[in-house]
């Protein structure tokens, strides 16, 4: 056990990040649960419920729960060299979810540097690979990026099975007919294996085996509609004319560039310039 070394977790309060925290209690005595907040994200305090549940379940572990405002970081990362990026990458600049997560990682690195944390984890899972920060190729880039600051970045729940795709239509057979007989997730991955929500249930941290998308789940993590524009871009504009490999390639190009471009924020931070945009703790 890494008795004296703390770990930082990008904590939304959802099933994946809560399970990540639960699994890491075996290795760490002190866990920093960091929930990030910015304009466009609502009900951020919802994540506190699963923090309290974790603290009750694992009393021997010290959990440090913080909400950090990263609005300025997100703004800088989304809009720096905007015209240049717009002409080069076009609508890929609307990849809000990826840019938001990248901003969280940048803010997390600053937090780690401030608090001498050398290990960071999150709840990235292979079942959500349409989102850039959950894509294996981007995760590798982020891992290298963290390494340059002496921080190790891991994804303990990445290989858990993705949850079964849920439909708003109650009749499952009808839903299958309408989606061509097989859901996208089932087509890409084998549905066998334990999901994060099942594991969380077996650990006694969830009331039922399937919670994703339920009212219970929604009340335990922040609400955000910012993915809508990104969704329109990917599902309705890009993918109807291109395949997934092209999407992955474009995403890798864009985010490799964005990671390099964002480095100056942390370089400035280490020099003591622009410290004000980081570690803005909310009470």
């Amino acid at each position: 056990m890494e008795e004296n070394k703390p770990v930082g977790i990008l904590f939304s309060g959802g099933t994946d990040s809560t399970l990540t925290a639960a699994l890491l209690t075996k290795e760490y005595k002190k866990i920093h649960l960091i929930t990030f907040d910015r304009l466009g994200i609502f009900e951020v305090k919802n994540s506190e419920k699963n923090y309290k549940r974790l603290q009750d379940k694992f009393p021997e572990t010290e959990f440090v729960y913080k909400i950090i405002d990263f609005n300025d970081v997100f703004k800088k990362i989304s809009y720096q060299n905007y015209i240049k990026n717009l002409t080069k990458y076009g609508f890929m600049n609307l990849s809000t979810c990826g840019l938001c997560k990248l901003s969280m990682h940048i803010a997390m690195i600053a937090y780690c540097l401030e608090n001498q944390i050398e290990q960071v984890s999150d709840g990235a899972n292979r079942g959500m690979e349409i989102f850039p920060a959950q894509m294996d190729i981007i995760i590798e880039k982020l891992r290298d990026f963290y390494k340059t600051y002496g921080i190790s970045y891991t994804n303990p729940v990445f290989d858990f099975a993705p949850p079964e795709e849920k439909s708003l239509i109650k009749d499952k057979e009808m839903a299958q007919i309408m989606s061509g007989g097989v859901s996208k997730r089932e087509a890409n991955y084998e549905s066998s294996g334990e999901t994060t929500e099942q594991k969380l249930y077996s650990l006694g941290l969830s009331p039922q085996q399937e919670v994703k998308g339920t009212h219970y789940d929604k009340k335990r993590q922040p609400r955000c509609f910012q993915f809508m524009i990104f969704n329109v871009y990917v599902q309705k504009w890009f993918l109807p004319k291109h395949n997934m490999d092209e999407y992955r390639k474009n995403t890798l190009d864009f985010f490799s560039h964005k990671i390099t471009e964002s480095k100056f924020l942390l370089d400035d931070y280490q020099k003591g310039i622009g410290k004000g945009i980081f570690n803005k703790e909310k009470t």
Partner: protein, 63 residues
């Protein structure tokens, strides 16, 4: 094709908007889509329920 044209205009507007306005625009699109899908699936579920009811009534009527 039609949905791609709409997608193009949504993306075009979004890409030109500054930080705060893009956030407000995304929120607006989110609620519109939520309302659209909520209505759509509500109607589909209602039709399915009525079809099942009619099917069961038909079975009982045939006995």
């Amino acid at each position: 094709m039609f949905s791609r044209v709409i997608a193009f205009f949504v993306c075009l507007i979004a890409v030109l908007l500054p930080f705060r306005l893009r956030i407000v625009f995304a929120e607006f699109v989110g609620w519109v889509v939520q309302l659209f899908y909520g209505t759509y699936y509500g109607i589909i579920n209602f039709i399915l329920k009525e079809l099942k009811k009619a099917e069961e009534e038909g079975k009982h009527g045939g006995e």
